[in-house]
Symmetry: C2
Subunit: 250 residues, 2 copies
């Protein structure tokens, strides 16, 4: 039995998220079924984290054990030839025997894409959230800084959680306006040692309240210290969110 890890991307638009669910098209199910076609054995694939319905990944990391002795490069080719057109594999590599993509992850980065103003970007509509007014990016950048560091992010966690603690270290909250074809886009990237459920989408919804001028910059500090989900802005829709990469020590 070999332990393998793989970096993959997927367009989440037509998936009910990562995790297997009866009767649903999920990334885990599509990936496991394709692996089984290639290796001839049923294989359980674990990801660094479950992404929700509609969320995309540019660098999700998955792990699995297999008897299949194909060279990693051959496996990449075989997978890309047989996977559905909304999943792609970048690499396959040998992992430590006890590799666990969830437990062993030490750092992750997410991206959220917004378009703003009167002209929606129709070509990016499955991969962004459109805000019908111009966002004040400078204000959002100041507000973003207030979230960096080690804090209890309970206000940015949706739903009851079984996690022991909602303290996380956020290394960076980047807010940047970028030119693109015929409208700008505003990109928010969040890097942390771990994320609570809906944490990035709740941060984005909160920063957008500031960018719209509905709340002052300092309000973000109030949200943080409230330790109460009701204090934060609306959760941003799934289709603007991308898991960028996951870092491991091993």
């Amino acid at each position: 039995m070999r332990s393998l890890r793989s970096t993959i991307a997927y367009d989440g638009t037509h998936f009910a998220g990562w995790q297997r669910q009866p009767g649903q098209r999920t990334v885990q199910r599509a990936f496991e079924e394709t692996l089984q076609k290639i290796t001839g054995e049923a294989t359980c694939v674990t990801a660094s984290g479950r992404t929700d319905a509609g969320v995309h990944a540019l660098g999700q990391v998955v792990g699995f054990n297999t008897h299949c002795m194909y060279e990693p490069d051959v496996l990449v080719k075989a997978l890309n030839a047989q996977l559905p057109e909304d999943i792609v594999v970048f690499d396959v590599a040998t992992a430590p025997d006890d590799f666990d993509p969830i437990r062993d992850a030490v750092r992750k980065r997410y991206r959220y894409v917004l378009h703003d103003g009167r002209i929606p970007n129709i070509f990016d509509r499955q991969f962004s959230w459109h805000i019908w007014q111009e966002l004040d990016v400078a204000a959002m950048q100041h507000a973003a800084k207030l979230l960096e560091g080690k804090h209890d992010f309970a206000s940015f966690e949706t739903g009851g959680s079984s996690r022991l603690t909602s303290v996380r270290t956020v290394y960076e909250v980047l807010v940047e306006r970028q030119g693109c074809e015929y409208t700008d886009r505003v990109v928010i990237e969040v890097e942390a040692d771990g994320f609570l459920y809906n944490m990035v989408r709740n941060i984005v919804g909160t920063l957008v309240q500031v960018g719209r001028g509905r709340r002052p910059i300092e309000w973000v500090s109030e949200v943080l210290t409230a330790l109460d989900r009701q204090a934060a802005g609306q959760v941003a829709p799934a289709q603007g969110l991308f898991l960028m990469w996951v870092k491991y020590d091993c």
Copy 2:
């Protein structure tokens, strides 16, 4: 009655092209129906040229006559609020009374987007053509130069045509490799005083034969002088093609 012109973009993926056809979802039909909802009158809308099923537009120009006296800016807002999510309007302006978007066009530019190599760009798959090997962009650039100038482009026209002449002046054929998220893309842009049916897609199919190393650079000159569609490469698929802009003297 006012004569108006408008610059619009559309994602051609789910349209059976520009032109009205019974029982089909077309851009012309969607645009005319939305105009009628706003103005209360049936309106015939003409475009600078018909785009085929699956072809996109970043700057299509359309013209129509209306009794509606809304200010152009109000009309832009009303259209964008009511158009389907795969059409967007950038501007509306007064046009000369006899404005004809087809006859009066003096120059157009198209873009074709390719991705190449072993890793398909799944996020751009509705807006590009994937070539499963690395393209020789330098060779394609040399070949592209052979097409610039005033030539009879009969070899690059699909089907029988009613046009008087297949001589066109091509001002530029640009071939450029551009970095993007996780794979490069190769962009081909063609600017001319007019285009024959499928001309850009036939040029792209021909240049790709050179980029794949299946044909030498000089072969493109042979194709051009053959004046025979059978001489050229395969027609490139519709979903990589964008009408960029249309220029008018008026």
